[in-house]
Chain length 226, copies 2
């Protein structure tokens, strides 16, 4: 079973975006703790399978963040199952997960499943719209964090600013609530300074978009977190 | 921290129903593992407080099953927080709980909080309507049980037939899914035979309504579970 408690940094790869072989090699050999494969748009069985196959050549944990039932496949080291606390629709909190458990429950290796309590905090993000989110107040987010830790005993609480830079103060406030639950921060990290700043509060920094804009900058965020 | 794993039998008292002193004494001294105070209708601060005060004279764990914010008070040994898996409204899955954590989060002693994953299975029950439930299929219930155990690591999964006799086959099927999560069964238990039958599969038998109809019959269900 994967232990996210020891992680500091992960790269998130979007299966819907092309990635040259030498870029993938650099990411896999960067010293990051894991690769998460996941996205909101255009995630298909084929593009997930393609990325999985390519990553398997390297000695790095590879995780599928499940966003669509169509792209679930064996072969990953672990599967992250999001539940979106600030969704207005229970579909994104229990229904999709329930459907998946009903369909695949007998084949699931639960030791590989890791539930992530998400808060999506960027109103402009595709995932904000896709998961029918509403923007929570700071007090809302803090209470969700408490629920993740104490009520649902989730391994991960994930502050997702998805492409934009978040609020370090809120990340700090949330971090104070969490002891057993690991805090992930994702959003807008493009430099060593930004990685350093958020890493002061979050346990794990997720770096995504910058991979596709400036690979060298992305790679530098790894060192910042070690 | 209360350990429900060791329980076999509990009585559930409705604060909205009168209970003579000698009846309460008999229940408290019956050998049952705990008293749960909870109901759907007419639960007020005053009637909950009254019952709590009376029970505190006895040496038996007393738990508040929280159904309304108005009747929350200190003094109980534990607080059961229901989340209703088969509700159609996310209000009964995360929103009320979120509201409570927002309001009282800083004062909550989390060691006293026990989350119950509910499935309400009697369409005629007040709680079915109150929590905007929909009747799940057998496969639905089994999948909810898996979610309770593996995704949310809940201490309790509760099959609630609320006043009517349930399906032993379904209870048996659900019991097979649960290892860490304790299975509660409640509904229509009025005799030793019924208690025996459901206790074969459920870890804990909840006896409620019969208390108010036939106290001696209620008391006999305790022996059946020991």
């Amino acid at each position: 079973m994967l232990n996210v408690k020891n992680w500091n940094h992960v790269f998130k790869l979007d299966p819907n975006k092309p990635l040259q072989e030498e870029c993938l090699t650099a990411l896999c050999e960067s010293g990051t703790d894991a690769l998460i494969i996941g996205g909101t748009d255009g995630v298909t069985f084929d593009n997930v399978f393609d990325l999985l196959e390519r990553v398997q050549a390297f000695n790095i944990p590879c995780i599928l963040e499940v966003s669509t039932m169509e792209a679930i496949m064996p072969g990953f080291d672990s599967y992250f199952i999001p539940i979106v606390f600030n969704s207005m629709n229970k579909r994104y909190i229990v229904d999709i997960q329930h459907q998946a458990v009903k369909e695949y429950g007998d084949w699931i290796n639960w030791d590989q499943m890791v539930v992530e309590g998400y808060c999506v905090l960027n109103e402009q993000a595709k995932v904000f719209e896709a998961a029918q989110c509403q923007l929570p107040s700071k007090e809302d987010v803090v209470a969700y964090a408490k629920m993740a830790e104490h009520m649902f005993h989730l391994p991960i609480f994930y502050l997702e600013y998805s492409g934009t830079w978040g609020e370090p103060e809120l990340v700090r406030e949330v971090a104070k609530q969490l002891d057993q639950t690991t805090l992930f921060y994702g959003g807008g990290i493009e430099s060593i300074e930004q990685a350093n700043l958020m890493k002061k509060y979050a346990d794990v920094i997720v770096v995504g978009n910058i991979i596709y804009k400036d690979l060298q900058a992305a790679l530098r965020t790894v060192e910042a977190c070690m």
